[in-house]
């Protein structure tokens, strides 16, 4: 075993949980110390490490092991959470090893990745975990030196007695400190004293990712493991019959079994399974409504004009307001179903044994996976272990446990460890989509162009409440009515990154632009006026912070030099969602008669920025995601069968299609909120508003590239 050498801050030791056997690979890439590849088992990493609390252990050799409880899918929580613990501990970051925790509900709360909720949930907990351990280390030093605690300070993993110049490393104190009573109250750092929080810290898995280490669920391998793929029925259909003799004849196929309308091909390796699937002859029969996209369009119209709707919010009297209006503005917006399509397709490993169940893989909701497994098998959850791998993206798709339960079913049937893998086609055609939604907005303006009435009805396909009734401009309009209608479709839906708001924000922010245009007002001034009105005369409850929303609007306007650029058409959008505030300005230039999207500015308020490099990534990535899906992606159906099956027909954004992006953050010291979702919702609106400014064409439906409004233009790579 190679000794771990001293590392610089930039090249800190990286630890990666590998699948299989629980190995930890730790190594760094410092060019002058290139012989430092170390491979440590989990026992070795934790050897002699003294547990201070659920989040951290300290080894006598000075290394600090920080456990990251939440699933990591690219939101960078595996780096930002340990940064917070290390900050309050005053650890030397180069000696921090990050370990992905498994599902351990007795140690951790909310081991979930979703809703941008981890950071606000855990901020205080993580700080206290670090501060508590720091206090114990200081107290241990005070005892050893027989000096008052107040005379001691800490820095970079050492307790310092300034008066005498003495120092002790945390490693040297770990044994004594671990025996000290855990303090119930600890003082947290002042923000001005932060050294790690607020400085850019690179992803702790960089080296493992960039050298191809087995980090992901799909990389998991267990001796004796069987592989399986599953043919699932189209929407609204059930299994009638299957002829599998020919498929069974493929070398390497172990068995072909059916369960819950699924046909599973089980084999020793992947390729024979893919080949065998093609030889299956399966017949399905209707089991409910078999829907096509044309049915959805018809349903949208019927339900939009229907009498039935759930009233989500009502302020004042919209009937009067619209009757007396000087002008009425109406706009209808529609989006399609969308697949999540993370780059790593769904997969999970399960081993159902007599004495319990072992689960390994990528899930956003490990506890749900365990609960559903326990329910399926009728056993207690304590008999189930779940090891979290890194997730190759999630976007909400891995909030479901369907693919986990499939692996459990098959492992039970086969009496063997089984890994279920979905192909890309399975993923794109497999449902759990972002719901298709249509919105109808109406605004009543008085003679001065003030918005005195606002109506929104949303119709969604399995979308639940497809409005967010308390979002801006609610609270700023005297007469307001928000209604929601849901059609229960056979096409399955699920939360998709920034659920509902991923399209609602586009529709709301585009419609506000339409209203500002009719009112003859500047889009930024129009929004600020509404916010001022909400501040002075709030209507009903206000669920957003008016000053923070104004803050991002002003920052985006300032950074983009709003309204003062020659030859560029700017579009504005602002949204408060998933606890953070983001305003965006998109810039379009007419080039040879066609619109080209050149740049988008983003101003974000997520409170304290824990990791600037990670925060920039989340905002940037959210915007690229919002842009790509607004412009290109579409799911359509014919008789319950999706018409897009892979990336040749289901279009995702590519490098040539991205504009420049500039990110800015409000510095206000407020406790941090999440960033996985909030930057996505405003992007489509900013782009559509800029295109309107440039071309006079109002985009109301997605994906943009398929709309009539853009047919007249030469669409280059950037629009």
């Amino acid at each position: 075993m190679t000794k771990v050498l001293k590392t610089s801050r930039r090249d800190f030791l990286k630890i990666a949980v590998t699948t299989g056997g629980g190995l930890f690979l730790g190594f760094h890439l410092s060019s002058c110390e290139s012989e430092t590849m170390v491979v440590l088992t989990d026992q070795e990493v934790l050897k002699g490490a003294l547990n201070f609390n659920s989040y951290l252990s300290v080894s006598p050799d000075g290394h600090v092991v920080i456990f990251s409880p939440n699933p990591e899918l690219g939101q960078n929580i595996k780096t930002s959470f340990p940064m917070i613990v290390a900050e309050e501990l005053d650890a030397d970051w180069s000696k921090v090893r990050v370990v992905q925790a498994n599902l351990e509900t007795d140690k951790f709360d909310r081991q979930v990745t979703g809703g941008s909720g981890a950071m606000p949930h855990s901020w205080e907990r993580l700080r206290k975990a670090g501060a508590t351990a720091r206090h114990m280390l200081v107290e241990a030093a005070a005892k050893r030196w027989e000096v008052p605690i107040a005379s001691l300070s800490t820095a970079d993993g050492e307790v310092i007695h300034k008066e005498s110049g003495r120092k002790l490393s945390y490693g040297e104190l770990a044994n004594e400190a671990a025996k000290i009573e855990v303090p119930t109250e600890v003082k947290l750092k002042e923000r001005k004293d932060f050294k790690i929080i607020g400085s850019p810290v690179k992803n702790v898995d960089n080296q493992a990712m960039f050298t191809g280490k087995p980090l992901f669920g799909l990389d998991f391998y267990r001796e004796g493991m069987l592989n399986a793929m599953i043919q699932r029925p189209p929407f609204g259909m059930k299994l009638k019959s299957v002829v599998s003799d020919e498929a069974k004849g493929i070398a390497g196929i172990v068995d072909i079994v059916t369960f819950n309308n699924n046909v599973a091909v089980v084999g020793k390796s992947t390729w024979p399974i893919i080949k065998a699937r093609k030889l299956l002859r399966i017949e399905y029969e209707p089991d409910g409504e078999v829907e096509s996209s044309a049915d959805h369009d018809r349903l949208f119209t019927v339900l939009m004009d229907g009498k039935e709707a759930q009233v989500m919010r009502q302020d004042g009297n919209v009937g009067e307001a619209f009757k007396n209006a000087a002008k009425v503005v109406t706009g209808e917006y529609q989006c399609p179903f969308l697949s999540h399509s993370p780059m790593e397709p769904m997969n999970f490993f399960a081993h159902v044994r007599e004495d319990g169940v072992e689960l390994v893989g990528p899930t956003q909701t490990p506890e749900r996976a365990r609960t559903e497994t326990a329910e399926l098998l009728g056993i207690s959850p304590e008999k189930i272990t779940l090891e979290l791998t890194r997730l190759g993206g999630g976007f909400g798709r891995r909030l479901r446990a369907d693919f986990v339960v499939e692996a459990v079913e098959l492992s039970k049937m086969m009496k063997a460890p089984v890994k279920v893998t979905w192909t890309r086609e399975d993923d794109i055609t497999g449902g759990a989509y972002r719901p298709a939604v249509r919105y109808r907005f109406q605004a009543a303006l008085d003679a001065e162009g003030n918005m005195v009435g606002y109506k929104l009805r949303g119709v969604g396909m399995n979308a639940g409440n497809c409005t967010r009734q308390d979002n801006f401009p609610s609270g700023a309009v005297d007469n307001l009515l928000i209604e929601s209608v849901e059609h229960k479709s056979s096409i399955t839906t699920n939360a998709w990154r920034a659920p509902i708001t991923n399209f609602l924000a586009f529709a709301e922010q585009s419609f506000l632009d339409e209203v500002a245009e009719v009112a003859g007002k500047d889009p930024v001034a129009f929004r600020l006026d509404l916010l001022d009105k909400a501040k002075k005369n709030p209507v009903g409850e206000i669920h957003y912070d008016i000053d923070r929303m104004k803050g991002v609007i002003q920052l985006a306007a300032e950074k983009s030099n709003w309204g003062k650029k020659e030859g560029l058409s700017q579009g504005f959008s602002v949204y408060f969602s998933h606890r953070s505030y983001v305003a965006q300005v998109a810039e379009v230039r007419m080039t040879q008669g066609s619109p080209v999207l050149e740049k988008i500015y983003a101003a974000t308020d997520c409170g304290i920025v824990v990791n600037p490099t990670g925060a920039d990534q989340q905002v940037r990535g959210g915007m690229v995601d919002g842009m790509g899906h607004a412009m290109f992606s579409n799911m359509t159906f014919k008789n319950g069968v999706p018409e897009q099956k892979n990336f040749d027909s289901y279009r995702l954004i590519r490098m040539k299609e991205i504009p420049a992006i500039e990110t800015h953050f409000v510095d206000n010291g407020i406790d941090p909120t999440g960033l996985g979702e909030p930057a996505l919702p405003p992007t489509g609106g900013a782009i559509a508003n800029a295109i309107f400014k440039a071309t006079g064409k109002r985009l109301r439906n997605q994906p943009f590239v398929e709309q009539e409004e853009l047919k007249a233009f030469q669409m280059g790579e950037r629009m």
Binding site: N203, P214, S269, T270, M343, G392, K656
Partner: protein, 155 residues
Amino acid sequence: MANYKLKINNHDHEIEVDSDTPLLWVLRDHIGLVGTKYSCGISQCGACTVHMNDEAVRSCTLPVSAVGDNRITTIEGLSEKGDHPVQLAWDEVDVAQCGYCQAGQIMSASALLKKNAKPTEEEIETAMNGNICRCGTYHRIKEAVALASSKINRS
């Protein structure tokens, strides 16, 4: 089933598989090199990119029977110590979000720089346009390719 002798990352491997087995599944299932990723299976996303000799190829649609004597390099064999200029640049720019596509991105980028050590922005975009990143790390990928180029030209 047929027997194939493959040169992968400077090692010889002998495997027994069907002739139409894509190189991707040979690497992942039979040799245990799982750094090369499956994502689309139809050469649309680039997650499975490896080098055949020095060219970037999509291993998900390359049948093992077409490999012959050609040298295959995967992400695991790009450098011995993870210190290829592209890998170093990827770390320095902190490119990844979920990371799943990044091995394929790195293999496409390193093949580009082998042929063209000083690519223009447009040449970078053209070479990298076949690699999808669902997290949207494209800006940083571009930046990292440019940085790797400067590292190569400096050394």
